[in-house]
């Protein structure tokens, strides 16, 4: 029953999010601040992880290819497919659920604990629109982060290939171009938009409706990470089934 109640409250929160909009002059500044906090602020960690995991994917693929009949270009092909289809959109989203999600839950949760949300509501401001809507808009730029992750993942693979002598750069690039299906990029971005929606709203829900004190803010952040990850993985399964099968 608790789960049903939470799902119902989450849906009502989404509806409420779009009611009584905040003045555009104020909202504009909030969106820019959230783009800086959530998107620009995540680029560093996303770039670092993408580059090195891309490299690791390449090394693992190369080490497991001991049949001399398999062309070396398959390393580039496997890296591209892994990075574009799953690693960049899904794996990075799970990391973002930890970084961005816990930031959103703890910042909104702290506002709840310190009565700042009550202060907004007393003033007649739709606190959900004021706090959550700019985050949702900011995270609609999330595909931009994922495209950087895709690029750096593949670049990391190239670097690993070149420096580890697993294949020539030409073989790797040939592999990248083999059987390229542009729809896979569209599929990845569609998934990313869905994940971005969850990344903005699930942590906000856990922060906004939390009860208790400072300790509970930490607990809410953990719970929000778990549920955001569950939602992302589930949506990933559903969308992959719908869009690729």
């Amino acid at each position: 029953m608790n789960y049903l109640h939470s799902i119902g409250a989450y849906i009502l929160m989404i509806i409420e999010l779009f009611r009584k909009p905040t003045k555009w002059s104020v909202m504009k500044k909030l969106i820019i601040k959230d783009i800086d906090d959530l998107i620009i602020g995540s680029l560093g960690i996303v770039a670092f992880i993408s580059f090195f995991v891309g490299g690791v994917v390449t090394i693992q693929t190369a080490l497991n290819m001991d049949n001399p009949l398999i062309p070396k270009s398959l390393i580039g092909f496997a890296t591209r497919q892994s990075v574009i289809l799953e690693f960049a959109p899904t794996f990075i989203s799970i990391i973002m659920a930890g970084k961005v999600g816990s930031f959103i839950t703890s910042s909104i949760g702290t506002m709840r604990v310190t009565e700042q949300i009550d202060a907004l509501e007393v003033m007649g401001i739709n606190a959900l629109n004021y706090l959550v809507f700019p985050k949702l808009v900011a995270l609609m730029l999330y595909p931009f982060v994922i495209s950087i992750s895709m690029f750096l993942g593949i670049l990391g693979g190239l670097a690993a290939c070149a420096f580890g002598n697993f294949a020539t750069v030409n073989d790797y690039i040939t592999g990248l171009q083999d059987d390229f299906i542009p729809y896979h990029i569209i599929y990845a971005f569609i998934k990313t938009i869905g994940f971005a929606f969850f990344l903005a709203t699930i942590p906000s829900y856990h922060g906004f409706y939390m009860k208790g004190g400072a300790l509970d803010v930490g607990k809410a952040s953990t719970v929000s990470f778990v549920w955001t990850s569950v939602a992302i993985i589930t949506l990933n399964f559903i969308l992959t089934q719908i869009l690729l099968s």
């Binding site: 009584k20 007393v122 003033m123 007649g124």
Partner: protein, 255 residues
Amino acid sequence: MIEVKDLHKSFGDVHILKGISTTFEKGKTNLIIGQSGSGKTVFLKCLLGLFNYEEGSISYEGRIFSKLSDEQKRDLRSEIGMVFQGSALFDSMTIVENVKFPLRMFTKLSESEMDDRANFVLKRVNLENAHNKLPSEASGGMQKRVAIARAIVNRPKYLFCDEPNSGLDPKTAIVIDNLIQEITDEYNITTVINTHDMNSVMEIGEKIVFLKDGLKAWEGSNETIFKTNNEVVTDFVYSSELFKKVRKMYIEENV
């Protein structure tokens, strides 16, 4: 004037407010007092519309809160200033930005007009030199004064304060009490203060509503509270050793 009639509020099976009726008068500092757990905060949050109530009515100058449309509620809320127990200042904004916030949200004033208004109220609460500090850099007393400045910057008709003296030393607490009293007189507004600080009661309690177990146990002023024979009130008022001694001295002097 705010008129409350037969207000009931429950959380699940727990009945918190059990039918409170009272009025809060314009131009006066109205105090809600009572022990912890007596329902003061729930009552205040019902008055502010933060909690829905099951029965009864709250009327702001004839406007019954529960019957107002969303638009009317928003208009009414723009007439309300609130000082929260923990000040509830926005951490990410400087002091002056906190004060300008209601103006930015609800008025079409230019930046310079907002600056003028914010400077005026910050001066009014004796904080003219703290504009660019963050709330975390201000002391508890300063934060309370900023909260008062933010509450009055949009010239409210109603000012609500939830335990404005909690966590403050006695001297600063008196400064805050006097400031609230002066603002109430100056702007002729309806002020409702939730407190259990007996010093506040003595200083500014022009009208006092005493709550016990979700019911109004007594109503009066700072002049009558020390003369009442209501046992519930005297138990509360003379619970501290200091007040017991004051009472003993008062009785001895008069005998």
